[in-house]
Assembly symmetry: C2
Homo-oligomer: 500 residues x 2
């Protein structure tokens, strides 16, 4: 049965309603309304929400309320962060919202806000030890993570809107302004020595996502979402230089930067860069998930504390697979056969596996047919499209690109990273060739979808590979079909293939 919940995030920069839909097998974000309310506009520390932003906020909440009623969503979870948390007239605002929409807004404490950012980070990446950074319009939260659990949590009033108003107001900013902000952040960071305890850094929030897109453009990488995109300090500082050259409202001229963030992205970038410097991090991994997903994970895994997805990478693949393709036995068997062959070749020392290569082949096998949801014709290309665009939490952009290309080449064509090459590393063409080759042969062995080829035993003698099929029935056609892929196999592994 499909269930739905709406999380409403009343942030300092924007309000956003996000609908999550889930069953026992999958979950996904299915709808969204975004409104750049800027409730914190003109709000200085200890100040009050001003009438105009409050009215914008109320109208937006009315819209959200209409939406949930019209679409029949009963589980609605509105949460407010920094700006509303710290407003002197918070009670007045909450009462007005209640009166006009019936919504009971939950104002998150600093700790709660940090916790949701942390949940978003650890449930959408493989972050096990390091720091989760969550920057919004009003505040920034850092969580020290050890063995996937939070050990330290802090929130600072270092949000992008707030820092813009305080350090980088007006049309043009100078290096001096940026330096002042940097110094401010560094002072704050000095109070959190656990920042320097190493590990990886994962970034959450709209500022991080937008910077990730900007960095991809800088690097000439085709953008397909920001999940797993790596932002190096070097790239971030180049981006800061480019942003500084332009007046604030024009900063969306920098490729990838959104118009709605043009005036606050510089402050966000500088805060993040200063945090990276303070913590000694060379790079930050962006994730698509944010506070809203954090709130949702609590719903999805109700009763678990903390609500952690056991294996993020595996779950991401199974989640996507379940959304599109119910033929689990077939895909599972293609995965088994592919890995059986790959393992034999790896064991025989035919190649040096790249880190995680085996996982990528498994993922590609599980997802190779999702594209049939678009159309049977060219479904290998549609699988690629769906994988790239739906994204795979727990995977880097490079890994997602490799999985997508392996799925693309599970039938037809000559494997190549093509336009995704800028996401790859040296040797990735070989990784792709190996994955595509075993996948293609496994797919041919499973043509009848009946798992009649129970095992594919690959026996290697110098220069040749004998693939011995174990089957309970005559499999002449499967054997011949597999043999048609011998050329691609030879190219990938440098051995001639015969099947019997």
């Amino acid at each position: 049965m499909e269930r739905r919940a709406a999380v409403i995030d009343l942030g300092s920069n924007s309000f956003r309603l996000v609908v999550f839909t889930w069953t026992g097998d999958w979950w996904k974000r299915t709808d969204e309304i975004y409104e750049p309310v800027r409730i914190g506009e003109g709000l200085s520390e200890g100040g009050v929400l001003r009438p105009e932003p409050m009215e914008r906020a109320a109208r937006t909440l009315e819209l959200f309320d209409h939406f949930t009623r019209a679409t029949g969503i009963e589980d609605v979870r509105p949460v407010a962060t920094s700006a509303i948390r710290e407003a002197g007239n918070q009670a007045e605002f909450l009462a007005m919202a209640k009166k006009r929409t019936g919504l009971d807004i939950r104002v998150l404490s600093q700790e709660e806000e940090a916790r949701y950012g942390y949940l978003a980070a650890v449930n959408s990446t493989t972050l096990s030890d390091g720091v989760a950074l969550d920057i919004g319009g009003g505040s920034m939260q850092l969580t020290r993570v050890a063995d996937r659990l939070p050990t330290e949590m802090r929130s600072w009033r270092l949000g992008a809107v707030r820092m813009t108003e305080r350090f980088l107001p007006g049309k043009r900013q100078t290096r001096k302004d940026v330096k002042a902000l940097r110094t401010h952040v560094q002072k704050k960071m000095a109070t959190a020595p656990w920042m320097r305890a190493g590990g990886r850094l994962v970034g959450v929030g709209g500022t991080v996502r937008n910077l990730a897109t900007g960095v991809q453009h800088l690097a000439g990488q085709p953008a397909f979402g920001v999940q797993g995109v790596e932002i190096t300090r070097e790239a971030l500082e180049e981006l800061i230089d480019r942003l500084l050259e332009l007046p604030a409202h024009d900063r969306s001229k920098v490729p990838g930067i959104k118009p709605g963030r043009a005036d606050i992205i510089l402050a966000g970038a500088v805060v993040i860069d200063a945090v990276m410097e303070a913590g000694g991090f060379d790079s930050l991994e962006a994730t698509q998930a944010g506070l809203r997903e954090g709130v949702f994970f609590e719903t999805l895994m109700e009763g678990t504390d903390p609500p952690l997805i056991a294996d993020v990478r595996r779950s991401a693949v199974l989640n996507l697979s379940a959304q599109y393709h119910p033929e689990h036995q077939h895909t599972q068997h293609v995965a088994d056969l592919s890995l059986e062959m790959w393992d034999a070749l790896a064991k025989a020392g035919r190649f040096d596996p790249a880190p995680g290569e085996r996982d990528l082949i498994w993922a590609a096998a599980m997802l190779h047919d999702v594209g049939t949801a678009v159309d049977y014709d060219d479904h290998h290309k549609h699988s690629r499209y769906l994988i790239l665009n739906a994204g795979l939490p727990g995977h880097s952009a490079r890994e997602t690109a490799l999985i997508a290309q392996m799925a693309r080449y599970h039938r037809k064509g000559s494997p190549s990273m093509g336009e995704l090459a800028p996401h790859g590393r040296p040797g990735d063409e070989d990784v792709l060739n190996r994955g595509s080759a075993v996948l293609r042969i496994a797919e041919q062995l499973e043509r009848a979808r009946d798992q009649v080829v129970e095992a594919a035993d690959l026996r290697l003698h110098d220069g040749t590979a004998d693939l011995v099929l174990k089957a309970s029935d005559d499999v002449t056609l499967a054997r011949r079909s597999a043999e048609r892929e011998a050329e691609i196999f030879e190219r990938a592994f440098g051995v001639t293939l015969s099947v019997r």
Copy 2:
């Protein structure tokens, strides 16, 4: 409830198993196995199927049988055409197939085969008066259609495999060989004077589909399936010239031509060209549907004779919409509001509508959100992808491109045909601008998905347009959101917009 049926097409060139899945709301082709059996190899008129092709056929049927058992498909409909129909040892072949697979193969008469081709043509295009052409490996069927009903049907032994063996065997062919084939076809056509009774020509079958792809490549049009692609005689003859330049097995070097058809595509092209000449047709419209869909339509519309889809264009849009997006009330209301505005502008003479323009806007409105099935982010781009790749029967490639681009620009970006421009005609950028503009405003009015804006009454005075909203509730935010799209509206219609 989802139902499934497998149609097995035992053609002279290839065998193909196609799975159709359907509910009360939609149907689609969900799976397929293709095997280039060439059962008719070496079979001359009145001859017998040879042992080797028969054994290939039996193994392929065994594979199909395994497949349907493994996937639990009980409704299996195997049909055989020309080669098996005419084989002296047909009974022997059928008995062997029955023994080895349990399949009861139905051998179609010439009339039945022609009828399925006709059903495919009229249920996947808007062909009302004209001719449906269905060319396979062994035979070619022509059906004269009047008011969507068949009035004449004939089958000739003019299939692509058969004509290759008889007129164009071997590695290289000359203009003289081609001329001999052409003369042969023309003689046959002389016996069907109803060919010259005018109307449109629609083409069915793998040869037609492959030629359509070839013609798209020639014209520099990005290919997204062949549904509705127009093959002019001029383009077809250019393609024939290019094919003639190459040896038979190398003809897949002509862009778009499939390797599996390299040796028989020239004969198919010449037969079609000669038929076009004989019938006085300047162009042929390709359709994705074929004999297999014809058989399926009989299943889908059981009890109706002939099984005709009442409105092919409308059904195609609703079929695609139902597969992806259940929020019918929202999309329907966006369609209503869009067309209300468009009608007012058309009535006021603000532009000259292109033929069918109103239908395109309706289709784009109904399909604008299908992309959320891929991912909410960039769902407008995903809608475009799904529309282009799933295809829309009853629409030309140009119309499908326009609908896809309107859906793409229902939010964000500046409307443009972009890389699809080669599919368009002069003025299509304006059609797109108009469609995107009304769609975008309607979408904003429907932000809350609650149909609270009941009507959008557009009142035109020289140079300005007042959009007066009828609503049962406060719609300030919807109004403001709509006003944000004023610029695109002005660009499309040349009038300034205000909303109240």
